[in-house]
């Protein structure tokens, strides 16, 4: 009997529950899809490094899942309490008929259990479908082969999803029972009779509040968008907090002003149902200032997350093409004396010779290579490079270590490397030098110095800069543009006594990708062997501090791709959850408002308003309610992304347009989808019951 009653309750209030149910299903499916990623990836053909990345990804997703579970949990509790409130009359009726609170609690338990089980099953089915799509995305992100992939269901993810959501539903049940236990009959009965009190905000408060918050926001946009280098951590926190407060005040003041403004446009206000429509919208925004603020901020985070997600990944890929033009690089540096081991006097050791001692041939399997070394002049530090500008620069760039020695490379070596890379070579007169640099922050400093035209002294010889700014170039292969500056000098100026880091850069002898991977493995094993059998022992015996490193294109790109994929997945995960949470809250609020307004629409019909006009009014109300927080969030995002670009500067922001495009598509699909569902459900709710 009770079971039947609760089943009927759900069926009857399906229009209230539809959005809730829909959101639960999407929540469950996203949760499952992301948690099953690692299982899916097992079926993709991946490199070893990439398997490590998948493990890392799994850990990240697990961590983020806790956060996501909390967000979803809060959403479910909120939505549930909201729906409970709508049913106060029904509970009152049960109590009047003499049903005990215990039994009502039982009905509620049964309902929650049914909704929970239903949404969990439906969500898992959808999630399993979604996860196959995710596998394709994984394959794409990791550049992996999908031919071995087959349809999979991750049992561990199913269990995890089941447990997480079961806990949420149990919390909801406990809260429901607590609410029923506490409620009083008289409150339940009176809950429907809310007398709509229209509070007008004073214009003379609204206008200044609006102007001030708009001005503060504009100032913050300006700071974040154009003066980001001046932001300290504290100031940044202040800006975030200020932005949130101003967003709230903006909604608050606009909700007070907009009606007055529209009302003063009499021709517009008194046309068709406009007066009704605007009153509805204004009262809706008025009562929802807080939730609209939160939704706006969450949308802002979502937009930033989603657009950065794809940007990072795209730019990582294009960066590798650009900044890693060789297959293989080994470096060796050794320093004598000094306190930390890094400030000693460099000792030059030939890496090729060391390999030979270990019984390996560094030049084997190499199509072409360059073997050269860098120099350092203990007199030439970053501080002395800056010359007279140093004092001023220290104030502007407080975080740079000023006494680090500059790396120097002679012109012929540089040109050999460029030959290998297929990049432009340089020419220098005997008294000239050039700085190559591509790391943005260092670039600013060095360009400022070079534009002043100071000379430098290298190995006792005065040199002047050939150019008034840095040349955009690099020597060491890497995943990003992180060359903070190397000085190129004419061969005649180089002093072999100051040789420091020995470097070997080369390309493999390999016909295709497959062969390249094999060679890469061989060369890496060779390095390990040389390091283990000779280099380590040699350095220990000498008692010098040393560093020896290997970089290969295969490893760099696998790591970068993996890292990009992790960032993409985590951003996507959080972004999607935020997006559905925002949309679901808006949808629930709007639907309940529509249910409260049924009589108003019925009345409009009686005084002769046509269905077309009523539908248009409803569409406008729904649209404005959904679009207002989105617009402000979008404006925030423009400047937020400008800042994100700055932060991501090292990684690069290539492909921003494409990723913004994808973000817009996703928001249109999900947010727009919720908007349409809300609109059609509301239209159904207010539909005339008579004809």
């Amino acid at each position: 009997m009770l079971f039947k009653l609760s089943l009927n309750n759900i069926r009857r209030s399906i229009r209230d529950y539809a959005v809730y149910f829909f959101t639960l299903i999407i929540g469950v499916s996203i949760f499952y899809a992301f948690n099953s990623l690692s299982t899916q990836a097992a079926y993709l053909r991946l490199e070893n490094d990439e398997h490590d990345m998948i493990e890392l990804l799994k850990d990240f997703i697990s961590g983020v899942s806790v956060f996501v579970a909390i967000v979803l949990g809060l959403l479910i509790v909120y939505a549930n309490r909201f729906l409970m409130k709508r049913r106060n009359k029904e509970f009152a009726l049960y109590l009047i008929m003499g049903m005990s609170k215990r039994r009502i609690s039982k009905i509620l338990l049964a309902e929650t259990a049914m909704i929970g089980a239903g949404s969990l099953i439906a969500g898992l089915i959808l999630g399993i479908g979604l996860s196959q799509l995710m596998a394709a995305l994984t394959a794409n992100l990791f550049d992996a082969d999908m031919s071995a992939y087959k349809f999979t269901v991750s049992s561990s993810a199913v269990v995890k999803t089941g447990i997480c959501f079961a806990i949420m539903y149990v919390v909801v049940m406990i809260l429901n029972v607590a609410v029923i236990g506490k409620c009083r009959l008289i409150d339940l009965l009176n809950s429907g009779k809310r007398s709509e009190k229209i509070k007008h905000k004073k214009m003379w408060i609204c206008v200044p509040v609006f102007l001030i918050s708009a001005a503060v926001l504009a100032y913050e946009y300006f700071v974040v968008g154009w003066h980001m280098e001046k932001l300290s951590r504290e100031r940044f926190a202040l800006i975030i907090a200020g932005g949130a407060v101003c967003t709230f005040l903006l909604f608050w003041s606009v909700s007070g002003m907009i009606l007055r403004i529209v009302m003063s446009l009499k021709g517009m206000y008194y046309r068709s149902l406009n007066s009704f429509t605007f009153r509805q919208i204004s009262s809706k925004i008025n009562t929802n200032v807080m939730s609209m603020t939160i939704i706006c901020l969450m949308l802002f985070i979502t937009i930033c997350l989603l657009s950065s997600a794809f940007t990072v990944r795209n730019s990582m890929r294009s960066n590798i093409e650009k900044y890693c033009p060789a297959d293989f690089e080994v470096t060796y540096s050794e320093k004598e004396g000094g306190e930390t081991g890094f400030d000693g006097i460099p000792v030059f050791v030939d890496i090729e010779e060391m390999y030979k001692q270990a019984g390996c041939d560094l030049t084997s399997n190499m199509e072409e290579y360059v073997h050269f070394h860098k120099y350092t002049d203990p007199e030439l530090t970053l501080e002395s490079f800056c010359g007279e500008y140093a004092e001023e620069a220290k104030g502007k760039f407080p975080f740079i270590s000023w006494n680090s020695v500059e790396e120097i490379v002679k012109l012929s070596d540089y040109n050999k490397v460029m030959d290998l890379y297929g990049r432009d070579k340089l020419e220098l007169a005997d008294n000239e030098f050039v700085v190559i640099c591509n790391f943005d922050n260092a670039l600013n400093l060095r360009n400022a110095v070079l534009s002043k035209g100071f000379g430098i002294k290298v190995f006792g010889r005065e040199l002047v800069s050939k150019t008034d700014k840095c040349v955009d170039s690099f020597i060491d292969i890497s995943a990003q543009h992180v060359n903070s500056g190397i000085i190129i000098i004419p061969d005649s100026a180089a002093d072999e006594r100051f040789a420091s880091v020995d470097e070997f850069i080369g390309n493999y002898k390999a016909a295709d990708k497959e062969e390249k991977n094999v060679t890469d493995k061989i060369k890496r094993e060779e390095y390990k062997k040389a390091y283990d059998t000779y280099i380590e022992k040699y350095a220990e015996e000498s008692g010098h501090a040393f560093s020896c490193g290997i970089d290969t294109k295969v490893a760099i790109s696998n790591n970068a791709v993996g890292l990009g994929a992790i960032v993409t997945f985590v951003c996507l995960y959080i972004g999607l959850i935020f997006l559905i949470s925002c949309a679901a809250i808006l949808a629930l609020k709007h639907l309940s408002d529509s249910a409260d307004s049924i009589e108003r629409y019925e009345m409009l019909r009686k005084i002769g308003a046509g269905e077309k006009e009523i539908t248009a009014s409803l569409f406008r109300q729904t649209g404005i309610f959904f679009i207002v927080p989105l617009i402000l969030a979008a404006v925030h995002s423009v400047f937020g992304m400008k800042f994100a670009c700055f932060v991501l500067g090292a990684i690069g922001t290539e492909g921003m347009a494409a990723s913004v495009f994808i973000t817009v598509l996703m928001i249109l699909a999900i947010y727009g989808g919720y908007f349409l569902i809300t609109f059609f459900c509301s239209r159904y709710i207010i539909k005339s019951r008579r004809s």
Binding site: S275, R279, R600, M603, L604, K606, I607, G608, G610, E613
Partner: protein
């Protein structure tokens, strides 16, 4: 001049086995400028009759003519336009939009007809003056008394100059003083604006303000009396006599 002609209309509910004749073969006519009250006990079919006239409900058989238009044949857009342009409604529970001020509630009826704002303003002020609600125009429904709300609703009903004003128990939710005030306004509108009013009520006092009273019992026209030249007091006594004749719960409702 004859405005409304109701011809043998019937409204049935239910199927063959449990047929309820809510309105059973009723015919009458209303002339332009008349103030007609329809009386009857609860369940006698008076509200169903009003709903049929107002096109909110459809008749099962036969016709209702307003002027020379058969309103039972109207559909869709034409029906909406008919309601919008030809009818004015006054309800027992006022049916004002709680989010709008009195002024905006009244103006809404004209806004829906897409009249220019200037014309609306003049019309609202005139109607408010006629119904004595000028001082509450800027108030919201929750700030007004029941009588004021009903007069605002009346202003909204008359502002479009409808051919016919339909009032369903307009005094039902009012105290006797407010009811009297409202009915005097109805008389004023009836005589000054030549407004045609059909009012459904079960209250003899309310009915005594009309120029003619129709009595309905069990879906059928039971009796009909006109006020003629008699005073309202005399007319009231006549109504009481018929109500007594009708018997049952109408007298209970007094």
């Amino acid at each position: 001049m004859e405005l409304l002609k109701i011809q043998n209309i019937e409204k049935y509910y239910g199927g063959k086995l449990n047929l309820t004749k809510a309105v059973d073969d009723i015919s009458f006519k209303v002339d332009e400028g008349e103030f007609v009250a329809i009386m009857g006990a609860s369940g006698s079919g008076k509200t169903t009759l009003l709903n049929c006239i107002s096109t909110i409900d459809r008749v099962t058989a036969d016709h209702i003519f307003l002027g020379d238009m058969d309103i039972t044949k109207l559909k869709g857009k034409a029906l909406t336009n008919f309601r919008r342009d030809k009818l004015g409604f006054i309800f027992q529970d006022f049916n004002l939009l709680d989010t709008l001020t009195a002024y905006e509630n009244i103006a809404l009826a004209l806004s829906i007809q897409n009249r220019p704002a200037k014309e609306i303003d003049e019309a609202v002020k005139l109607a408010a003056q006629q119904l004595g609600i000028t001082e509450v125009l800027e108030k919201y429904p929750y700030q007004m008394s029941g009588g004021q709300k009903q007069r605002v609703a009346s202003a909204r009903a008359i502002i479009t100059h409808p051919s016919l004003i339909l009032a369903d128990e307009p005094t039902g939710a009012l105290d006797s003083k407010s009811a009297k005030l409202l009915l005097e306004r109805f008389n004023y509108l009836n005589s000054e604006n030549n407004a045609t009013i059909i009012m459904v009520t079960h209250d003899s006092f309310t009915a005594s303000y009309a120029s003619r009273v129709l009595f309905i019992k069990d879906g059928k026209l039971f009796n009909e009396i006109s006020r003629g030249d008699s005073s309202r007091k005399e007319f009231f006594n006549k109504i009481i006599d018929v109500v007594t004749l009708l018997g049952g719960d109408v007298s209970d409702a007094l």
